[in-house]
């Protein structure tokens, strides 16, 4: 099947988007006394092309969140190196946005103020960012809730607000750590479709950590399948299913094939 993946469609337009390279990365968490506690990742290598949507999938403890934090520069690898656009990752970068399993909205800020947080931290002009923030809230369907406080929103709306906060500074790479994991399945499916729509419009590189195989396959161009003890990459599977994707796709035998393929790798991982 010919790839109608948006990667090709976008590759010309987004010259500013960087590739991510992960070379022989290992991460060991030590206790304070220096004794080995957990080997979270061992010898992980793969590359992510600009504008790709990549899922990390695997059981708890496979180091998928650790790998995400390493790429985001929130922690440092014990061995190996990670480069984003030829530059080695040393500390976090403002062109990489992060989203967590919890929305992490500040309860003392309204939705709009929460979305403007990165603008303030970056020292950009709040006034001129206001229109952009409102555009993004409209994009995620929160335009009439901008004055609401997070506690007045449902879980799904809170994560929409969190997504808006990432999008407001238009990062070229978005790292998402099980962003919709705590949300009911109906809402999650809708949010996933919205995420794909936004990604297809803007063409960021998105890394999406999940423990749902179906979700991983449905969203991604490539699925990085990870296993435990020690955390490692079992396989990187290309998903050449057509885009734009709809829920209908889940019925197709091609989709089932890929899902089964991923499942097989995870079955091997004991």
């Amino acid at each position: 099947m010919p790839r109608t993946g948006s990667r090709q469609r976008r590759s010309g337009a987004d010259a500013c988007t960087d590739a991510i390279e992960i070379e022989n990365v290992g991460k060991v968490f030590r206790t304070r006394l220096g004794t080995v506690a957990v080997e979270a990742l061992r010898d992980v290598s793969f590359a992510i092309s600009p504008g790709q949507f990549v899922s990390f999938v695997g059981p708890s403890g496979c180091g998928k969140s650790t790998l995400l934090k390493l790429i985001g520069g929130l922690i440092e690898p014990t061995s190996g190196r990670i480069t984003v656009g030829e530059r080695e990752v040393k500390g976090s970068r403002r062109d990489i946005g992060m989203m967590f399993q919890t929305p992490v909205l500040f309860p003392w800020r309204t939705v709009l103020e929460n979305v403007l947080l990165p603008i303030e931290v970056f020292g950009l002009d709040r006034r001129s960012a206001m229109d952009r923030a409102r555009d993004i809230l409209r994009l995620v369907g929160l335009e009439d809730r901008e004055r609401a406080y997070p506690s007045e929103l449902s879980g799904g709306m809170q994560q929409r607000a969190a997504l808006s906060r990432v999008l407001v500074v238009d990062p070229q790479i978005i790292l998402m750590d099980e962003p919709f994991g705590a949300i009911d399945e109906f809402t999650r499916e809708r949010l996933n479709l919205e995420l794909l729509r936004i990604w297809e419009e803007r063409g960021q590189t998105i890394i999406f950590v999940t423990h749902s195989i179906v979700e991983a396959v449905f969203l991604a161009d490539r699925v990085v399948v990870m296993g435990t003890a020690p955390g490692r990459v079992l396989s990187v599977i290309d998903v050449s299913l057509p885009r734009p994707r709809s829920i209908e796709l889940m019925k197709s035998p091609d989709f089932a094939d890929v899902v089964f393929g991923v499942r097989e790798y995870l079955g091997v991982a004991r």
Binding site: R93, F106, P107, W108, Q158
Partner: protein
């Protein structure tokens, strides 16, 4: 409180719906409101009953008036106090000692708490002292403060500071350290400066805890001021209590106690109000 508000909100709702008949059904609605919340009646009613019982016990001669004056006598005492020209200055003195002590102590305590959280080594060194002072009954310091700072307002302020300081220190430290890991990761992923992390995340996170400490400490500051006045003083409500006790004017002692209680209640009410205004999100949990 919140259920009360909810009921009030509901009332307004039904008012909108039935504007024409609202006057007719007003008494009925009042009746239903009270039936749903009998505590609103029963709580003050129990207080009145208590006063009546107290009065009866005294009038019946079961207790000597020198030991327990009847409520009516305490009321006389209050009238005497509030008509006396010398009374306001005593109220003012105790209030000033309390508020100055609370303000100085509160600000100092918050600053110390911030310093401790930001400098781990400093915290490690200082924390044992804080805990030691916290568990010490500060009342024992009152005579020393009188010796050091004299009979005037200074020694009372110092006592108020000493007694109200540590709850705020500890609540500030606890509050600042209760920042959620993901919130910290978010700020770090945005490459926020230390200053930004403090002002945009840690400080607001700590505010509910700090305010809880301040509320406790304002009441404590009043205790500190009164205790120091007990020891030696020329002015203040504590002085009045001691003086009237010596003169065996127990009904006046009771009257001053009522004034002190109302003062404490008023101060607490102000803090409660500020708390609700400043930390309006207290009852909404952190979403992350």
């Amino acid at each position: 409180m919140s259920t009360h508000l909810a009921v009030a909100g509901g009332e307004r709702h039904s008012l909108e719906g039935t504007t024409g008949v609202s006057r007719v059904s007003a008494s009925r609605r009042l009746y239903e409101f009270l039936r749903n919340r009998p505590g609103i009646i029963l709580s003050p009613l129990s207080f009145v009953l208590l006063l009546v019982l107290w009065e009866f016990v005294c009038r019946a001669g079961l207790v000597a008036p020198i030991i327990l004056p009847p409520p009516t006598r305490v009321w006389d005492g209050l009238v005497i106090l509030f008509t006396a020209p010398w009374f306001p200055q005593h109220v003012w003195m105790t209030t000033a000692e309390t508020l100055i002590g609370f303000a100085v102590g509160g600000v100092g305590a918050i600053l110390l708490g911030i310093a401790m959280v930001n400098m781990p080594l400093f915290k490690e060194v200082v924390y044992p002292y804080v805990v030691a002072f916290q568990v010490m009954p500060k009342v024992v310091l009152a005579p020393i403060f009188i010796t050091w700072f004299g009979l005037g307002i200074e020694s009372k302020i110092v006592m108020a500071i000493a007694i109200s300081f540590f709850p705020v220190v500890i609540n500030t430290v606890v509050g600042l350290e209760s920042v959620e890991e993901n919130a910290m990761l978010l700020m770090r992923s945005l490459v926020a400066s230390r200053r930004q992390i403090f002002w945009k995340l840690a400080w607001p996170t700590a505010l509910p805890s700090i305010f809880a400490g301040l509320k406790t400490s304002l009441t404590l500051a009043l205790i500190g001021a009164l205790v120091a006045e007990f020891v030696t003083s020329k002015d203040g409500l504590g002085t009045l209590i001691i003086t009237f006790s010596f003169e065996l004017k127990i009904y006046l002692v009771f009257a001053v106690i009522v004034v002190v209680s109302v003062l404490g209640l008023a101060l607490y009410g102000i803090m409660e109000y500020l708390d609700r205004k400043v930390v309006f999100w207290r009852h909404s949990h952190f979403t992350g």
